[in-house]
């Protein structure tokens, strides 16, 4: 299934990560670029930390969550939202007023899912604290949630970034052929309640309890600028992992690969596969 141990041959400390800050893009392209970056890392390229946004706004579905005939396509169209299915697990997220990050690295670098999840999330916490946000990791609780129609931000899972027990960042992983992708959404504004309203039967998203997510607007009075936010998160990343970040752009090869892969991510047969 997996590389569970950190491989001492690949010491993460002092390694160089590429730092990408890509332009707002449609959902299929955003997923395809993450997948193309996985190919690069698999071919021996440097690990990547990427920050990105979505245009138009997009509902992303968890790889294994039910979705076919469950969402109100008219409501999605009326609001101008696209839909894409992620390669990663978990539940639906609305990417509209948020920051998305992704981390792509050899899966031997940070150990198994739980350990790597905690390490990456600790780096996010460190960045958020620089902004004055009292972020922490959610302790292990009850059994993990199944990939259902409930919105991602409804329940924090073990190891996720929370403030006062409310989820601020929702993240998920995909480990494919020895490369790890973790991406996640950091909320600037509270629009996640919209996710339930995009279902044909909104009652399917009825919460077990009504914990709304935390947002940077609520915590800081106003969301910081993109530059302030990405700088703080990058700083948290270098401090926690003791790595160097080198600002970069996707290579022409990565762009070309993403263009190919975007066909898959835009294919309704993938989006509505279950």
């Amino acid at each position: 299934v997996i590389t569970l141990q950190s491989n001492s041959k690949f010491k993460i400390q002092n390694s160089k990560f590429r730092l990408l800050d890509t332009s707002p893009a449609p959902g299929a392209w955003n997923m395809a670029l993450d997948a193309a970056l996985m190919d690069s890392v698999r071919a021996g390229g440097a690990p990547v930390l990427r920050f990105y946004r979505w245009s138009p706004g997009c509902l992303s579905l968890g790889r294994n969550q039910p979705a076919r005939e469950r969402y109100d396509l008219e409501a999605l169209r009326a609001r101008g939202f696209e839909v894409v299915r992620r390669p990663t697990g978990g539940r639906a997220v609305l990417h509209d007023r948020e920051l998305t990050y992704s981390v792509i690295l050899p899966d031997s670098l940070l150990g198994g899912p739980r350990r790597s999840y905690a390490t990456i999330n600790r780096a996010l916490v460190r960045g958020l604290r620089r902004l004055g946000v009292a972020a922490e990791l959610q302790p292990r609780g009850r059994r993990a949630a199944v990939p259902s129609l409930l919105p991602c931000f409804r329940e924090p899972a073990e190891g996720e970034v929370v403030v006062g027990g409310r989820k601020l960042v929702g993240s998920a992983q995909f480990r494919e052929r020895h490369v790890l992708l973790q991406h996640g959404s950091l909320l600037l504004e509270n629009d996640q309640a919209t996710v339930g309203g995009l279902l044909r039967e909104p009652s399917a998203a009825e919460p077990p309890d009504d914990a709304s997510p935390a947002t940077l607007r609520e915590l800081l009075g106003a969301p910081p600028s993109w530059k302030t936010l990405t700088r703080a998160l990058a700083k948290g990343w270098t401090e926690e992992l003791r790595v160097r970040l080198l600002p970069a752009e996707p290579s022409p090869q990565e762009e070309a690969r993403a263009t190919e892969l975007a066909v898959h991510y835009a294919d309704p047969a993938w989006t509505w596969r279950i």
């Binding site: 299934v1 569970l4 899912p113 739980r114 990939p147």
Partner: protein, 128 residues
């Protein structure tokens, strides 16, 4: 301590092969150590019966908490059966990885590949 039955074969990716009744037919699943490291398993995606896979080809995925991981075919073979009980109850992989939590039944097409898998002692050393 993770349970490592003596009579199974193991891969570095924490999958096992357990001999079935027929010759060259094995149950494939993930080890007790792997299920413990992965955490609560919430979804399993398995191949269709009749499909063949080369050694180390990806034959499915498993989702634990919110991490989706590849499942590698430990040796070349044909899928004879998949464990449909995991659709409704993927937690069987956590509770009984070597029994009710098996994933696929595989007819091994190149039995010499079995020699390259680890025995229990080697696997125990592998997980440290």
């Amino acid at each position: 301590m993770a349970n490592i039955p003596q009579d199974l074969r193991y891969t570095p990716e924490h999958e096992y092969l357990k001999r079935a009744d027929e010759e060259n037919v094995y149950y494939v699943g993930v080890t007790d150590y792997a299920q413990g490291e992965l955490g609560d398993i919430v979804f399993v995606e398995l191949p269709e019966v009749g499909k063949s896979f080369d050694r180390m080809a990806v034959f499915g995925t498993v989702e634990a908490v919110k991490a989706v991981s590849d499942l590698y075919c430990p040796v070349s073979g044909e899928i004879l059966e998949v464990n449909d009980a995991l659709d409704a109850n993927p937690a069987l992989i956590n509770s009984d990885p070597y029994g009710e939590g098996w994933m696929v039944k595989l007819r091994v097409t190149n039995p010499s590949e079995l020699d390259e898998l680890m025995d229990a002692a080697a696997y125990e050393e592998h997980i440290g």
